[in-house]
Amino acid sequence: MSTIVLQNIDKYYGNNHVLKNLNLTIEDGEFMTLLGPSGCGKTTTLRVISGLEKPQNGKLYMDGELMVNAKELYFAPPSKRMLNLVFQSYALWPHMTVFQNVAFGLSIKKVPKEEIKTRVENALRRMQILEYQDRYPSELSGGQQQRVAIARAIVTEPRVLLLDEPLSNLDAKLRIDMRSELKRLHQELGTTVIYVTHDQIEALTMSTRVAIFFEGQLAQVDTPLNVYQNPADLRVAEFIGNPSINFVSAKGRLEDNVLHITSDVGDFTFGSEHFTENEFPRQGEFDCVLGIRPEQIYLRSSPWHDAREAVVYASQPAGSETLVQIQMGDTRLLVKQVGTRNYQTNQTVYATILENMVTVYNKATGKLIKMAVELDLEAVEMEGSRSSSSIT
């Protein structure tokens, strides 16, 4: 129903350039998450889409219809955009009951009283807060207020639902519950959802696609799995994943269309079929950085195949997983193992790195030049279960 196209959007607050030439297309029915550290422009993007903020430059289309043309100072009002917004602070009107809060938008649209009642009750029932309809927001808990805010946003049946860090004010347990509830809601309603968060776990678990922002610019727009496995540059790689990715300095050399890598953690060769379109020197040696996720390293206590020798620096067993820091030459690596393992400090271990999953970045540009590739079905399954366990 609703494709949203942002074209060359620039937004300034005074001299502060908040959004820098932003281009983003959000497909109909998508659950698009805008992710980034605070102050990166993700909330501003949401507000530009909603119509609460006017960009100084660029165009915005919804469903092919022009909504913003900054050059001609054309800005369609929020009400014309068929969307609704859940504020971070919920912004519930304290002088209205839950019912009145939810009914407000419909009453503005002059919907008949009877219909308002049924629609509001449906929305409240869907959010499981029907019994609170006569209460005032101050008489509700944070989680209940959150549900009222969502009910208020969905009762008008918007084509696009905007959510601005909706879970940030909830406690940890409630946050996990609401995550699955929002995901269900998206599937049931089928509306396009644009979701702003700084929490990568929310982004990876709920979205169909993730847009990662740094300093007002888009760094990567991709599926959660791709964002995790093939971060487009070093900043994204560092931002996504907890515990964070290992970076290893290495030397690269292209010979016969094969990339030869030498590093502390081993020598690798990669075929051109996994190269990205990003530039890197085709001749001679160049500096590069390897990205290795902690769960893609395996440890054994005894020598095995071509496993490399390493020394345990520190071990942190945490029940369901164990984090081990190992020293390999001058490089220290973080390894994540499922279950409880016991390692002694300074114990010698043997590490195997899942070679295909290693990503390679050109150090000069910071861009990804070789993607991670899952080779066989078993590895895919294994990785699938691993990555999901690492992000919940």
């Binding site: 196209v5 289309y61 092919g64 001609e72 800005f75 009400s79 969307l83 912004a91 649209k109 208020r152």
Partner: protein
């Protein structure tokens, strides 16, 4: 890579995307639509226009008048001069002529001395009271906290009437005062002139310092003081090195307030000085205007404005960005009281004495005096309700009937109540609208402009403000759209509303700041336009603030004399003016009756405010 394919498809199915031609015409059309299609912009523009017209234009007109030859001075300036010609005559006369000394320099010096002494004394008095009330373990705080702010409710010139009742000497004629009647020979300097003026004004303005400093003290977290104690500081050291610096901004703003107010105040020096030929700058201004030397009067008013602007400027330089320590500490959490120890009985005694003499005393004197048929004779036989309900005996004050049976009193009461209610409603509304603009356009040029414009009336002493409006509206203005308003009720409302804008808009801004902007944004997402948002979200949420803002202006205007002094006419008079003219006609019992009735009205409104509106009267410094 797959993504990119999809993107291309999207651009193909929606051909107009990115292909529209830029049109300058459409841009202009949209710009105009954005500007005028938004009621908020219209509101801001109308507000700025009105503020300019009612604040900047009168001021500018007054300034330019002082450089123009007035019709009535044509003869004085000799032949060949026409009305409206440029002249420095008035400024020369005021600043460099043989009358300058009596017209300007002497009164100015008097005023400066009085203002400085009053400010210092009332800040000391007010701060000590505030500290005792807020931070010490003084007993009977409820009683004292009410007693201490009673002076705020009684207009300052009422207190000078009480002073006269006690200390009046035979020199200026009329009935003798209480002490003279007892046979005490009252020295002149105690009856009239600078000393009684300073004392009376101090007993009035200390209430302002008290309110401001106690608010600041109340917001200091006592942990800050306890930290000082842990660091080894004694009580005096804590007071001097921690508490005092923290309330310094409040003390300095109390200083601005008392200084400007006592510079511009008219009632008290008029009662206690003018008759004995002791002039201050405000009585000099009044006298010149009354003697038809209006232009010279304006020049005096401008000098008054200049002085208060300078004062505020210097203070803001001194306070700088540290203006609000109070908010840093937030609500202040716990507050541990400081024991007065062995000093407690003495302090309580002194405070009771103070309240008795300074607060209850004047009030009691006024009330008793209204029941004494023959002034100066304090005996039970002399007790009479004559001045309240007497029907007019030709042997007593030329047959003036008792106040309550005098039809003029009821006309004036009706006028006053009408003025006060209409001004409060209208003024509060304006204040809230300006507050709305201020809170919604923080940091934008329009918001800053409105804030600055609204502040101007604060700089202008009431009596000068009255003079400006007299000049501006005594003839038809704006090409006849606004007729001559001199002597009309409308003019009184207008001048009161505009003069109180700094206070009402401050209350309005505080009120509107409490309504988060997201609450309105949520409304506009739901499709509510400006008016719907205002009616259904902003207005219901600001109701409480509306009410308390209303009460604050009410109390302040009820007591107002200085502002309307020059604007009232015999047919359009208010209660304060009635009391003033009774006193001027040497009929003190009558003026005392009027003053007591006014005080009762203010007290009742204050009680209602406290009970139902929970308003903070420290926000209103209009009286």
């Amino acid at each position: 890579m797959f993504e990119r394919m999809e993107d291309m498809n999207a651009t193909q199915t929606a051909p107009p995307i990115g292909l529209e031609e830029f049109s300058q015409g459409r841009k202009i059309k949209n710009a105009l639509k954005n500007l005028f299609g938004n009621p908020y912009n219209i509101l801001v523009m109308v507000t700025i226009l009105l503020l300019v017209y009612f604040i900047v234009v009168p001021l500018a007109e007054m300034i330019s008048t002082t450089f123009e030859v007035a019709q009535r001075d044509l003869r004085r300036l000799g032949a060949g001069v026409q009305a409206g010609d440029f002249t420095l005559f008035y400024w020369n006369r005021l600043l460099f002529s043989e009358v300058s000394s009596s017209l300007l320099y002497k009164p100015l010096l008097n005023s400066l001395c009085i203002a400085l002494t009053v400010s210092v004394l009332s800040i000391i008095l007010g701060s000590v009271c505030a500290w005792l009330m807020v931070r010490s373990d003084l007993p009977a705080k409820r009683f004292f906290s009410l007693a201490i702010i009673i002076p705020y409710m009684l207009p300052s010139w009422c207190k000078s009437m009480a002073w006269m009742t006690v200390f009046k000497t035979p020199r200026i004629g009329g009935t003798p005062g209480f002490l003279t009647a007892l046979g005490v020979n009252v020295p002149e300097w105690l009856a009239y002139g600078p000393i009684p003026i300073v004392l009376v004004l101090t007993l009035h303005y200390y209430a302002y310092a008290y309110l401001l400093v106690s608010a600041a003290l109340g917001s200091i977290n006592s942990e800050l003081e306890e930290m000082g104690e842990i660091a080894g500081a004694g009580k005096i050291q804590i007071l001097r090195r921690i508490t005092l610096p923290l309330v310094l901004p409040a003390i300095l703003s109390a200083f601005i307030l008392t200084f400007s107010k006592s510079m511009g105040t008219f009632g008290v020096p008029a009662f206690l000085g003018m008759k004995a030929n002791f002039m201050t700058i405000s009585t000099s201004l009044y006298a010149t205007v009354k003697q038809q030397q209006t232009t010279t009067g304006y020049a005096i008013a401008l000098i008054l404005i200049l002085i208060s602007s300078l004062n505020i400027y210097l203070n803001q330089k001194a306070i700088g960005s540290r203006r609000s320590y109070a908010t840093i500490g937030g609500k202040g959490g716990r507050s541990t009281l400081i024991g007065l120890g062995k000093w407690k009985p003495l302090i309580v005694f002194l405070l009771v004495l103070f309240v008795g003499i300074a607060v209850i005393g004047p009030l009691l004197i006024l009330v008793i005096d209204t029941f004494m048929l023959k002034p100066g004779v304090y005996s039970l036989e002399n007790f009479s309700l004559y001045y309240w309900v007497g029907s007019g005996n030709p042997t007593i004050y030329e047959g003036e009937p008792g106040v309550l049976v005098n039809s003029r009193f009821w006309t004036n009461t009706w006028n006053t109540m009408k003025l006060v209610v209409i001004t409060s409603v209208f003024g509060t509304f304006c204040g809230q609208m300006i507050g709305y603009i201020n809170s919604r356009s923080r940091g934008r040029f329009s918001g800053k402009l409105v804030e600055q414009l609204v502040f101007i009336p604060y700089l202008i002493p009431s009596i000068a403000f009255g003079a400006i409006y007299l000049s501006m509206f005594s003839t038809p203005s704006l090409g006849g759209i606004i007729p001559s308003l001199y002597g009309t009720f409308t003019l009184l409302v207008l001048v009161s509303v505009v003069k109180h804008l700094p206070f009402s808009s401050r209350a309005g801004t505080a009120n509107m700041m409490q309504i988060g902007i997201e609450l309105e944004e949520a409304g506009s997402i739901e499709g509510a336009g400006f008016f719907k948002r205002f009616a259904r979200i902003v207005l219901p949420l600001s109701k409480a603030g509306f009410l308390s803002g209303f009460m604050l202006i009410f109390i302040s205007i009820m007591k107002e004399l200085d502002l309307i002094m020059l604007l009232v006419t015999p047919t359009m008079t208010t209660l304060p003016y009635m009391a003033f003219s009774y006193s001027n006609a040497n009929m003190p019992p009558y003026s005392n009756v009027v003053a007591v009735i006014m005080f009762l009205i203010v007290l009742i409104v204050y009680w209602l405010t406290n009970t139902f509106g929970n308003a903070d009267i420290s926000k209103s410094m209009g009286g």
